[in-house]
């Protein structure tokens, strides 16, 4: 499966997240984080299902320390739903089934 998750860093955060017409699900991760790698397939499976309602991006906290600080990320993986670049909800689910249920409750 080709990745449908957009990689975001401090250079394209404004364009991809702040200016997004859709709410953005941000996956804070790092390449060395095994639970983050385990979560990624669920997010990649969700992305096409919610392509009309949601954009999904991932932010490597090591490569983007300012974004890590902006969202006060102190452990990973960490999932935030953001609107206009600001967090509106934190998602705690870790399987596609639970995440879909959580998103269905949050999204209009």
């Amino acid at each position: 499966m080709a990745s449908t998750i957009i990689a975001v860093d401090e250079d394209n955060f404004e364009a991809e997240v702040v200016n997004s017409a859709l709410p953005v699900l941000i996956d804070f991760w790092a390449p060395w984080c095994a639970p983050c790698r385990a979560l990624l397939p669920a997010l990649e499976a969700l992305a096409p299902m919610y392509s009309d309602a949601l954009k999904i991006v991932k932010i490597d906290i090591d490569a983007s320390p300012a974004l890590k600080a902006k969202f006060n990320v102190q452990s990973i993986p960490q999932l935030y739903l953001a609107s206009a670049g600001a967090p509106i909800a934190r998602l705690v689910s870790r399987t596609r089934t639970q995440l879909a249920a959580e998103l269905d409750d949050i999204l209009p």
């Binding site: 499966m1 080709a2 397939p41 960490q78 089934t97 639970q98």
Partner: protein
Amino acid sequence: MTLQAFNSSQAVKVSMIEPVRKLWLARAVVPDVDLVWNGHGKASSISGLLGRTDDRETFEQRTGIPADLAKLCECLLTMGITKTPASDAAAIAGNEALLAFGTEWLDAIAPGAELGMTVPRFARHCMDLILRPDFPLAVHVSPALVEAAGQIRDLWDRELAGQSVSRGEWRGVQRAAMSAAASDGDAWAYRIASFIEGIAWPIATVSHEFTGLFEPMFFNCLMFEETAFMTDEERSDRAHMLLGWKAMATAPRDEIGLVDPDPLEAHPESARVLSAEYLEQMMGRMAEIRAAAQGRKDTIIRETMDTVLRLIRSA
């Protein structure tokens, strides 16, 4: 994108597999569920070496093999080997019958084979096993979980028969699976419940997540084989250990991801068997039990490998 194994060429197959076989037989390759290639002093995985890459898409383009199938095969191997720390080379040990699978799965792939449904069909096989009355953990799986697993298998069978299944039907099954998993309190059922809940999706879409859900469940099933060699007290302690792991894994976390309060406070017996003192005290006994159960575990792993080989050959 439809993948065709080894670019439909026997010559390509041989040219890709033989370098892997040479290093695998020298035990200089270490199975890994992640593609590992030229990794900063870390030995390559079988698949990483085969595709000479650590990138999934590049691996699939070069080999014509779904990365998810490679991941499953590497996962089965990791269950049957011991990695030995070595300063200058990788070192692994294990039952030769299991180690043989390191290249058997590659040899089983026919040039031109389309293997995209191999992992989904293996998922279907796993669901069948869970639902069998002689499943070793059957007494630990609640009727609600059995019902949810049966519903998933029924929808998969309809899909495999070419029938359409609506999003609404899947939502109903997903809700049933989540409810059954959430209400289950059996120490041995947690990983099975997580598998059933996480895999409740159309069969054509489950490959990518499969091994991540299968690995802990399979490990759980192998660990259960050890209980045949335990005393009643040791079995009880193991159950408390599993409940402790579940409590820590599922404890609510605060905004910065920390668990508060300590989830084991409500599980004093779990706290006891997860304490460093207990683990140190039981280390020798647990090694004895693992050694006693190794033959049973190896048999299960080998049977599972044979199932994967059958599915690969029938693709």
